[in-house]
Amino acid sequence: MSADPAVYFEDIPVGEEYASPGRTVTEADVVIFAGLSGDYNVLHTDAEHMKASQFGERIAHGLLGLSIQQGLLDRVVTAQVTGPLAAVKWKFKGPIKIGDTIHVEAQVTAKRDGEQPGWGVVTVARRVVNQRGEVVQEGETDHLVGRRPERA
């Protein structure tokens, strides 16, 4: 699974909190994400059209924000805490504009048995916060985490 020192489902404490570094979302990020995803919606690509919109300018793709926060949290947690995704529930609460700086605040909120033996599910609640302290995205991610092998 990973090169990190062994951390198993049993080792992850419910209630543990994490805060990521910040990252400024740039025009380049938005252009690359449009090219990669193929989502060229005017919301993200037409500066002139967006002048007249409620946002006043282009905004980052919501899924770009989701992807960036995943990378930000990966920088401060062991691999196991953000292991393979089982489920995501997510709300886009406000725009991320070009030049905004976002970080992630997260907490392990629940642990439960996985559907397959040998695996548990860890739930991480996350908030994506901008430079003004506004929560722009929030939700929960469920991750599959291996259980400590039983000794023979």
Partner: protein, 140 residues
């Protein structure tokens, strides 16, 4: 006679529930994975695998390539999503979606879309529901 113009945009009023739309396929390559990993700075998974969030991101672009004019999306409100099977480099994914609910609001309307991502073996690899805010048809 002037030929009738096909609708160039799909507004809230035009959205029909229950009508499935299927996108073309896309082969997910090592380049997609490398670009995604570099952009997001997520921790790379096992060699040969596609990052969990990438098929969802690709489905957002594939969604514009269905046989209907583009939906006038004002905002992506949220989603619930399940990751059922891994996607590997070389797999070809496509997405099938339909509107399952719509609700008129003061500004625009809420559209709930059910979406599944399938691979070349017709296995559902990811699926869930997305909530969009869609513009109403401007007054003529």
């Amino acid at each position: 006679m002037t030929p009738s113009q096909p609708a160039s945009r799909v507004y809230f009023e035009d959205v029909r529930t229950g009508m499935p739309l299927e996108t073309p396929g896309m082969t997910v390559t090592e380049t997609h994975a490398a670009l995604f990993n570099a952009l997001s700075a997520t921790r790379p998974g096992e060699p040969g695998t596609i990052p969990d969030l990438l098929p969802l991101c690709l489905s957002s672009g594939l969604g514009w390539r269905v046989p209907q004019p583009p939906l006038v999306v004002l905002a992506f409100m949220g989603f619930e999503w399940r990751f059922l099977k891994p996607t590997r480099i070389g797999d070809t994914i496509r997405s099938v979606s339909k509107t399952v609910a719509k609700r008129s609001m003061k500004e625009g309307g809420i559209v709930v879309e059910e979406r599944s991502i399938l691979n070349q073996h017709d296995e559902v690899v990811q699926s869930g529901r997305l909530t969009l805010l869609v513009a109403k048809r401007p007054a003529a």
